[in-house]
């Protein structure tokens, strides 16, 4: 909708992963039951998405009407800054949530063993996809988003406050990235350069799906 190619999406993903780990560690050391760890993980992942509004209002809004090169440079600068910020805060060594990955056990599916946590993440992504679908097609806000994506000037002429819509949509996107990072982390480990890894895949997504 903003017609901006955001390289920093990978950084939000990494940030969500690290904040998720810290939240889970705080939760575990406070004596929370292991089987509920997904709650602090998801909540932390969603909350840190709030950084989206800061990035959008503080930086991105200055490059909307400029050449795409500016957008790429700006978002790449965010990638580099976030990587260093993560390194300063959490150090350089890979971080993980230890053995919580197996807190929900494993089940046998057609002769193969799969951790239940993986199934929970699959279910969560389906639920998120459905929720986004509902938001876009069934709510007034969704209609505004679609209208703006289709014709920004017309939407603005009809009284849509672009600044608010942009901030909301960008923050929503950021929160999805940080939540994704948080949910993936029990199955893997967080490394400061994990954001850059994701950018390559993000390119493929943009090529297939287009800038929306």
């Amino acid at each position: 909708m903003q017609k901006i190619f955001n390289l920093a999406c990978g950084s939000f993903y990494a940030l969500g992963a690290y904040v998720g780990i810290s939240a889970v560690q705080a939760y575990t050391s406070a004596g929370g039951p292991p089987w509920l760890f997904i709650l602090p993980l998801a909540v932390a992942g969603l909350l840190v998405g709030g950084i989206g509004v800061v990035v959008e209002r503080g930086l991105l809004r200055f490059v909307y009407d400029r050449d795409e090169t500016f957008q790429l440079l700006m978002t790449f600068a965010i990638v580099l800054m976030m990587e260093d910020a993560i390194r300063l805060t959490w150090g350089t060594a890979p971080r993980s949530t230890a053995g919580l990955y197996l807190a929900y056990g494993q089940i046998g599916v057609l002769g193969a063993t799969a951790p239940v946590y993986n199934l929970i993440v699959i279910a969560a992504s389906l639920a998120i996809a459905l929720a986004i679908g509902w938001l876009l097609t069934r709510t007034a806000f969704g209609r505004i988003i679609r209208a703006t994506a289709d014709n920004r000037d017309m939407a603005e002429a009809l009284g849509v406050d672009m600044r608010r819509v942009y901030a909301k949509v960008f923050t929503l996107g950021t929160a999805l990235g940080t939540l994704g990072g948080a949910l993936v982390i029990p199955a893997t480990a967080a490394m400061s350069e994990m954001g850059i890894e994701l950018i390559v895949e993000a390119f493929a997504v943009v090529v297939i799906g287009g800038l929306g």
Partner: protein
């Protein structure tokens, strides 16, 4: 990024902090004082070095970003620990040591920083160098600049072939493939009846060389062994579900994995999630940098695990190693990996070589004399005795063993501990790796 020790005088700062009220006159005064101080330093420098008094500058190259940053941090921490102890005890021949730290990144930029260390900072020696991709390029530059360079972890090998068999100024780390050779020697001892083996490693020289060397060694002990699968994901991958599914399908008796960074932890976790090691034996050389992230919850007992050239939990550890591990844990809340010992050995062997070359007269030796003293030198390092082979390659011990949960940590350690010397597991100077392995009497 250059970092001088805090004791380095800064000509402008020496005048006290500047504030916004500084008048033009004061500002000019400050400037001239700064310029004066700078000139004084410049005039002073060659004089001091000719007299061999004042602090001695040692260059340090270390990785600060990317997957190898933890390795770089460990090397630097050990070097700083060494320098602090040394300076408290009076330095080298009465001179305090001062570390000038530069970053190792890609070969081109690192070569530039190496030149800066030697030509501009005028260091007496350069310590460090981790990635062989970079140190391969540093070797010829070090030879050209005529200052000793002691590499922590990098070699001048292209694959498993030595490119600089007779260096003058370059001192290199152990060959990269040694941990795989040690694992190959120990596999038949601990895992009987292995007929099929699957392998996974990173898709670059190290991963491929380890796999090739491991296969060559294992074939010597188990001639009819079959290698049924080889996988080479790229460095930095964080999801191995599809690789693990392929490993399961191969139904191999044993998995050999040469991952050394966070991916070793990740594959262990994801393998545990599908119960891979319930049906399969496992060999993890790991190169020794991830040991405290291999938590008991997901790392089974009974795997062959490598700690590279230093084992922090060695019950036979020297008082020096015990003190180091204790202080490292207290300061960084981590247990030190092998890179600390590479770095400590480099720095300590330089000190011993300077003292040896100085002789009874205690006159600071020139660089060529230090190099001569380093050749064949054997000293006490953190992990025990270490030496420089005559062709400038580090000689030391490798620690591997079987994972156990019987310890006070939340991660696995090894018992029994196998200690294999590079005299047994590293190709001798001037030989070809595979000819040498195939010539073993097994």
């Amino acid at each position: 990024m250059t970092r001088l020790s805090p004791a380095t005088p800064d000509p402008l700062r020496a005048q006290g902090p500047r504030d916004h009220d500084t008048s033009r006159r004061q500002f000019l005064k400050l400037l001239s004082a700064g310029a004066g101080a700078a000139t004084a330093t410049r005039l002073d420098a060659p004089f001091a070095s000719a007299q061999a008094t004042g602090p001695v500058k040692l260059g340090v190259l270390t990785i600060r970003a990317g997957v190898a940053a933890p390795v770089g941090a460990a090397g630097l921490r050990a070097t700083e620990w060494w320098a602090e102890r040394l300076n408290k005890g009076g330095g080298i021949l009465g001179r305090q040591v001062q570390l000038v730290v530069e970053e190792e990144s890609n070969p081109k930029d690192t070569v530039e920083r190496y030149r800066k260390l030697v030509l501009q900072d005028k260091v007496e020696v350069v310590l460090g160098g981790i990635s062989t991709g970079v140190t391969l390029a540093l070797g010829p530059v070090a030879e050209d600049l005529g200052t000793p360079w002691l590499s922590w972890d990098g070699t001048t090998q292209k694959g498993v072939e030595e490119t600089m068999p007779n260096p003058k100024w370059t001192f290199k780390s152990v060959d990269n493939e040694v941990e795989a050779i040690v694992a190959g020697i120990l596999t038949p001892k601990y895992f009987k009846g292995i007929k099929t083996v699957a392998g996974i490693g990173n898709d670059y020289s190290y991963g491929h060389d380890c796999w090739e060397s491991y296969q060559a060694v294992l074939k010597r002990y188990i001639p009819d062994v079959k290698f049924v699968l080889e996988l080479f994901p790229k460095l930095g991958v964080t999801d191995f579900s599809s690789h693990i599914a392929a490993i399961q399908q191969s139904k191999a008796d044993l998995l050999m994995c040469s991952f050394w960074s966070g991916d070793a932890t990740i594959i262990m976790k994801q393998a545990a999630a599908v119960g891979l090691f319930k049906t399969m034996k496992g060999v993890f050389t790991t190169a020794g940098g991830v040991h405290d992230s291999l938590k008991k919850e997901f790392t089974p007992e009974g795997l062959l695990l490598g700690y590279n050239t230093m084992y922090f939990d060695d019950p036979k550890a020297s008082p020096l190693l015990k003190q180091f591990v204790h202080e490292y844990k207290a300061r960084y809340n981590e247990y030190p990996p092998y890179e600390c010992d590479h770095a400590f050995f480099n720095a300590e062997s330089y000190k011993v070589a300077v003292e040896k070359a100085a002789g009874a007269g205690k006159k600071w030796p020139d660089k060529a004399q230090v190099v001569k003293a380093l050749e064949g030198l054997e000293i006490e390092s953190l992990s025990g005795r270490r030496s420089w082979r005559e062709d400038h390659v580090q000689m030391c011990n490798f620690y591997q063993g079987i994972t156990t949960h019987k310890n006070a940590y939340d991660f696995v350690t090894i018992s029994p501990i196998e200690i294999v010397s590079t005299k047994q597991a590293m190709k001798p100077a001037g030989s070809k790796l595979f000819d040498w392995i195939n010539g073993w009497k097994v």
